[in-house]
Symmetry: D2
Subunit: 310 residues, 4 copies
């Protein structure tokens, strides 16, 4: 399955060229000014493999707002911290609804469908805010360690912007609290959530920091156990059925990899036993997924025959 | 990944013993008398591999009502017949709703979420009823060829029973027709649908007849191209996100294989590159999935390390 | 409250003039050809009082398709036939949904919210089809007697058209049957329903035939007891909260009379203790209510101070 | 329609006796301790007429928590303050949903169905909080003036309790804010809302203070114009279609008066042209309406022939 690494570097470069103007088919997220001002024609891709190679092309070393990709890290932290009790408070089913829907949360009595829709990520944020003395610092420390890079930081302008426009997330959190499914104070939960969303990372940093999910929970570079093999499996399963918002089925159908996108334009895809792909291009389609980011992941997955559905 | 076939036979035998009384945790489908009268303690499992081995234990050669497992065969037939135009009329997203929900069909203007919920399978039945001069015969012929067994037949008592109790499926079909998403006459669509649901097959027949999905569309025994590699991939993707009704996410989370269940108690799971598992035990959990059938697939998948999410 | 009858005649005439071009603000129902071909600038109004006066203006003696106004007659017939047991099978709550929504019917397990949305009227049709040897004839006879006119008839072209385009109503009926809330065969229920919808009556005929609802159940001309005073009250209550589809609240808010509209462009309004108003103009607003018909009823109600909310 | 006032007094007394043990059929609201501790067998009724009579029986002079009955006063204040622009931000349709449902608010993009469900009352509270320098004081002043009683006050224990258990109302408010349909800060909106809900009044105070709604907007005792005749009409219309939560249709059907209930056990009913009835008994049915309160209003309405639907 693996390819010569020079070849791969060239492939990435070539793929970027095929996508040159496709970013025009989407629109940069504009619900907060801090994201709306990002240049739409930035584009990067990076592949990290469990046997130690990291390649990239385009703006793959330029940090961008990871947004919902942070849900993957938060989920791993919460699983490590509270174990299987987490699944009493959040399910692992696809939602069949837009990512920020409040309807299903009402039907299902405050139990989010899965941890990678907004309600579920707020639930996870509550777990972290309740179980760490300083959950934001703990989160940043976790990510920095995974990426092996102490310069990763929260973009304060994005954070402030999210806070100002976070009314729907506040509604989701208060609704869960009304069902007794939130322990911490809502402002603390929201502050944690918006903090993790506002972290900036590059394609290369994201690809390398998630390698443990492709390697049964073990960081292949440090040999550290980041999570159990079972939990790596579970995260990959959730990302396969629910990671790409309400386009998750289509992504499985056409690409076939556990993946997560963020409204900053990033897309990460886990290839169990091989490595991690991360692509970035800010303009989004109507589902909130990066148009070019998806194309790039799709093309490289097909080129290398990486799909888990064969 | 493969194991010595004698070992496997013994493993299946041993697994059956561990499940001896677990069928008491479920209830046999009772919406039609023909299913309600099935003995609850029947149980079978079969594994067929693409390198030609077929093993089984328990009642693995006894035919049972395949019910919704027939949706897999129907989908392949429809893909072969009308190509990508199929995806104009049905989506490939998980539903986040019970399998027979009419609510989402209304919201989404008569376009079913995917081809393995009831609405989607009725849509597929419409495609078949509209594009084959005798769709029921064509279906039976297709299955018999795949299983290499001309004795496979429709259980007429089940068929009649389904017809009598098919009001909800009729409602789904008429609602789609009101959105101009059904071409044939509704009674013909329903008759096709209930016919394919009423087919009886054994675990062994199901496991062998679906091997092409584990082998890029090619039947490993006959080398026949049953569908394209791309379509085999797509079917596996759909089964991964949506095959186990509203428990699909949990099944991915805990087992990690493309799978489909039927209210007759059957569960099939595709292992790309390896083979097919089929388990059967009539009592169902609240989601409509066989309790013991799921356990058996789960245990064998874990034992052999078959999950696609690693 | 009553006014000199000559005055009233002149008022109606004058009101028609004020509405001359307002029909341009709506669109004639086009879901069936038989309705789509009606001239949009036809307009009529009639007022019948319980003290025996009947006046009208415009095309008030020209028959039009009564459509959902027939639900009022059907409800009275069913109440008379099965008594309070009717309310085990249909509720009397406003729906908060479009008139043909199937979503609420699913939530509420096949029990329609009220007898004047489509699902409820189909339920009532089932009661009639099950309890009369020839329910269509019984219905026509009932209406002819109320209107004192034996020439009232079913428009067969409309009936055939409805039948061809009745898939959504079929879906509603089959869904109720799946909840065991339909007794007769669905084709019989639909045939009854489309028959009563396809009856043609004039404004004058509708106004006079409904006088019993303004007069505690007694037809003021014949002194016949058409229904109990309690049931007249109940019908008026249902029409007040639910008679004008999902614009019922607004109609109460701005006009303040029990009323029922039909997609043929008719609107009837009951004035308890006074009489009945019927207006007709084919073009409909987005809620399915006649634009000019509503204006006319509103103006005459305000002019005469007829609102029940004062 | 009016009756001798001594007779009426006796009737009320007699009615109370018929309901002696019926309070056992309901349960006192227990979502906050301050309400849960109210004695369940308290019961009172009062009738005030526009010609100046006020009678009562039982605990009709004992203050109780008016809760949602306060929505009526708030609505009148908001209509007076911002005029018809209010109806750009809230509709006047029945909801067909439980009073605190968040689902419909999502569907309808943050525009509440009507001002007497929770979302609508929060919207009204936002109007008041935004347009009065001290909306809570203005509200209390308004009510005291209407009741002619300066001792009416907010129960601070109830207020604090509501605040602590107000997460669902917070969710509704934040969701509306996410649709830009809330102007003030959410804590201010909630504080106003819980303040008006926590006001204590007796049956007699409520009956007399709402007389203007039965008298075209004019307080019959002071001759003050409290609101326009048109707005009195509109409030009565809204109470008729939506005042009794998701039992509004049934209340219209069986009683036939504009009415509003509160979870403190109070029920007020407006009789246009006659007066106001207020009954109180803490135990509630599953819809949140006082069991005995409804019975009392129903009985007196029937006895006196007060229904607006005749």
């Amino acid at each position: 399955m693996k390819k010569n690494i020079v070849d791969l570097q060239e492939k990435l470069q070539a793929l970027l060229l095929t996508q040159q103007d496709n970013f025009l088919q989407g629109a940069v997220a504009d619900y907060i000014p801090a994201l709306a001002s990002v240049k739409p024609d930035l584009v990067g891709i990076s592949v990290a493999t469990i046997d130690g190679n990291v390649v990239g092309a385009g703006d793959y070393q330029r940090p961008f707002s990871i947004q919902s990709i942070s849900k993957v890290f938060g989920l791993v932290m919460a699983m490590n911290r509270v174990g299987d009790s987490l699944w009493q408070r959040v399910r692992m089913e696809p939602s069949g609804q837009p990512f920020n829907s409040i309807i299903q949360l009402e039907w299902e009595k405050g139990i989010p469908r899965n941890p990678v829709i907004n309600a579920g990520a707020l639930l996870v944020s509550d777990v972290l805010a309740s179980h760490f003395s300083s959950s934001k610092l703990a989160f940043l420390t976790f990510i920095r360690k995974l990426a092996g890079n102490d310069t990763i930081r929260v973009d304060n302008q994005v954070y402030q912007s999210e806070l100002t426009h976070g009314n729907r997330n506040a509604a989701l959190a208060y609704l869960m609290k009304s069902f007794d499914n939130i322990e911490a104070e809502i402002p603390d939960v929201l502050s944690h959530y918006f903090t993790q969303c506002a972290i900036s990372m590059s394609c290369q940093q994201l690809a390398t920091s998630l390698l443990f999910l492709a390697n049964k929970g073990i960081d292949p570079r440090t040999k550290n156990n980041i999570c159990t093999a079972r939990d790596a499996h579970r995260v990959n399963a959730i990302l396969s059925t629910s990671g790409m918002y309400d386009q998750s089925g289509e992504f499985a159908f056409s690409v076939g990899l556990p993946a997560k996108s963020g409204v900053g334009g990033g897309v990460i895809a886990i290839v169990p036993g091989y490595g991690v792909i991360c692509a970035w291009s800010p303009p989004l389609n109507k589902f909130g997924n990066s148009v070019v980011g998806m194309n790039l992941v799709s093309d490289i997955a097909e080129e290398l025959g990486l799909s888990i559905y064969h």
